[in-house]
Amino acid sequence: MSAFTGTLRLARLALRRDRVQLPLWLAGITLVLWANAASIPEFYRTGTELAAQASIEASNIVSLVFNGPALGATLGAVTLVESSFLLIVLVPLMTAMLVVRHTRQNEETGRAEMLGATVVGRHATLTAALLMAVATNVVLGLLLAATLIGADLPTSGALAAGASIAALGIAFAGIAAVTAQVSGSARGANGIATAVLAGAFVLRAIGDAIGHPAASGVEAVSGWPSWLSPLGWAHQVRPFDDNRWWVLLLPTALFLLLVGVAYVLTSHRDVGTGMLPVRPGPATAPRALLSPLGLAWRLQRGVLAGWAVGVGLMGVAMGVITDEADQILGASEQVEEVIAQIGGPGGLTDSFLAAMVRLFGIGIAGYAVQALLRARAEEASGHVEVVLAGSVSRSRWLLGHVTCAVLGTGALLLLAGLTTGLGYALVSGEGGRIGPIVGAALAQAPATLALAGFVVLAVVAVPRLASALAWAALAFCLVLGQIGELLDLPRAVMDLSPFTHAPAAPAEDVTAGPLVALGAVALALTAVSVALFRRRDLTAQ
């Protein structure tokens, strides 16, 4: 028996557990690329239009920060650049969560202990998870390449694009392999991996921001920080441009190195424990904890703090960029048109700000989803049982979590507005915009809360599907917001997303009608949820 005995059996078990989840991830990510590949040729019909778009990508700091370096004036290059943001964020998330799910989460729930007592080697669990992760990313890479080839784009570029994304995912499998050893909880392991992702994103964003356009004017050369980030490496393969296959060695080497580290850590720790020490807590509870609302706040505050840091940094960055946008974007009529399409008419700065603020609205809905799903997690783990065995009504418990999520959403939107406004004021010296920006950000709250209302209803009405439904709804709104207009979707479909009805302030005036309607939807959904929850059984797992 070796340290790897049982790996294949465990991998089969992992595959079976993920038989629904993983295909959905793969299909969703492929769909995003497919939608772009299908719509972009419609959007840029002539070579001149493509060249204009590529030159914007090469010089516009917003595009550089989010989409990475411009790769040239070809359909393939533009398609990939426009899809880049979602790909380089979603693929590492999918992979890290996959690895943690089959390693640390198994330990946390005690499943690993049971498996460890059977004929299973010390490294089998981790190896099985890594096998799954690598296989998943290879399949994804092939799906992405096939999608691009199917859109009549050059095969070599399509393969390089698929490989660059697959290698990025595999690198994050290595990162998650280590974070799963370091943290004692699955939540913690996912949290550290997400922080690494955010750090890697910021690193390459800075690199691309301080880079410069190439002599051609339709390509961008990234600065050195991009080369320090696994996300940057995915860009540096430069598919449809240079197709630099050798860059793939970097993520591969990182993966092998981190897996080696993870194996060493596995050999040096006990099953169920992390590397971070567990600090003792207080012997008595602070008063603030002693209510359903206090408990919900205690359980949710960590997530909110993480989001606050991210939103704050993003806000300042957005504010700073806005001033640049004013100068760079002013040059191109076409960009103005694009920005106006998302952000509404009005001055360029206001349109741009409106686009950013709406992006914040939908992004912060991600927090609301996460916070509300905590209520489901509490029920699934059985924690809620001991709370409701106390003198606590169903509605008081549920509304405790809802209150935290609602206040957290409001606080994050306020923070987004404030930091964006301050960032802009810092660079432009114009403090007068802070108020309108904050107002615009807060005006997104009804739309965000309408989605939150849907999540509450899902948690109460279909608890076992709540997580899948909630994230799917968010993804639906996100994709609709990003490419709904490009795809020319029917109005009825667009109207399904609450964010379609969110005001494009500060570019447009805020009208009370849609806000009141969205708020009413949020309230109605919550009220129905509370009524339903008082009627149903508690359901574990």
Binding site: V278, P280, A285, L289, L290, S381, E385, L388, A389, G390
Partner: protein, 307 residues
């Protein structure tokens, strides 16, 4: 004597599974009531219905004079619950959880809390993540016994405790009983049941098969007799109430229903008894008979599996 828990014809189904099948249960004020049954018999489901966590499909349940579903919030001020599977928040300390649970049910007595922590030898500063199963149970037990409540619903509360802590637990139950509180104790530890319970209810497949004091239950089962006589034994096999008979000339061994014991002895005497040992049924035998698949025709123990 008033009834604290009264359940009749309670039915609860989960899809095709009938978890509770016309269950009856009655717990009187001030008693420690043992709640027994094989795994999956419906004990935890019953307790969850009594806590208003699950809603019964039909039947009636009264708890402390109220409706367990409708009046849950008010009733829960007057009871404490210890679940069998103690799932607590891994990132809270044991002390925080005790205070939280106590406060949610309407407050706890700080001095009793302190004493119980000592008696159960529990370190309240440790995070729940680092507790073993037994220590998590201690957290729930300390929180429960620190509360001034009328009723304790304990669902296999000691399955993870060591024998020393088991003894502490038994002391705690006796103390609350002396204080006039009522306890519903679901347990598989028969010694614990024998030591603590005034009455027991045995359920199988969601149906009540037996209720009564231990003495009453014993009465319903058989005594094992081993006998040696002067003359070879005959006629025992034909007697009603005699089971598992082995006769070897002048020696015999058999089980006899309590109701048939007198007649059996009368039958034996004419053969000239040389030695006779009678073994009363152990609690284990009692339960094995009720838990097992074959329920031999006792008057009260009609086949509970019948649907």
């Amino acid at each position: 004597m008033t009834t604290v828990i009264s359940v009749s014809n309670l039915v609860k189904t989960f899809g095709p599974t009938r978890a509770l099948d016309e269950l009856d249960l009655s717990v009187r004020a001030g008693e420690v009531h043992g709640f027994l049954g094989p795994n999956g018999a419906g004990k935890s489901t019953t307790i969850r219905v009594l806590l208003g966590l699950l809603r019964a499909d039909s039947g009636a349940a009264t708890l402390l004079g109220g409706d367990p579903w409708r009046d849950a919030v008010a009733l829960h001020r007057r009871l404490a619950y210890v679940p069998g599977e103690v799932n607590l928040w891994p990132n809270l300390s044991g002390g925080e959880v005790i205070d939280l649970l106590g406060t949610l049910r309407g407050g706890l007595d700080p001095s009793r809390r302190r004493k119980l922590l000592e008696r159960f030898e529990l370190d309240p500063t440790k995070k729940v993540r680092t507790y073993s199963k037994g220590n998590r149970q201690k957290v729930a037990l300390v929180a429960a016994f620190s509360s001034d409540v009328e009723l304790f619903l304990l669902d296999e509360p000691t399955s993870g405790l060591d024998p020393l802590m088991e003894a502490v637990f038994q002391e705690c139950v006796r103390e609350v009983k002396e204080a006039g509180r009522t306890v519903l104790l679901s347990s598989h530890i028969l010694a614990e049941v024998e030591a603590l319970c005034d009455r027991v209810s045995i359920i199988r497949e969601g149906h009540n098969v037996e209720s009564g004091t231990l003495a009453e239950l014993r009465h319903l089962t058989r005594t094992t007799i081993a006998v040696e006589t002067d003359r070879p034994l005959t006629g025992l096999a034909e007697m009603a109430g005699v089971h598992d008979l082995i006769v070897e000339g002048t020696r015999a061994k058999f089980d006899v229903d309590t109701s048939g014991l007198g007649r059996a002895l009368e039958h034996l005497t004419p053969f000239g008894i040389r030695t006779l040992t009678s073994t009363p049924p152990t609690l284990e035998e009692l339960f094995l008979r009720h838990y097992g698949d074959e329920l031999v025709g006792e008057p009260a123990a009609t086949p509970a599996g019948a649907r």
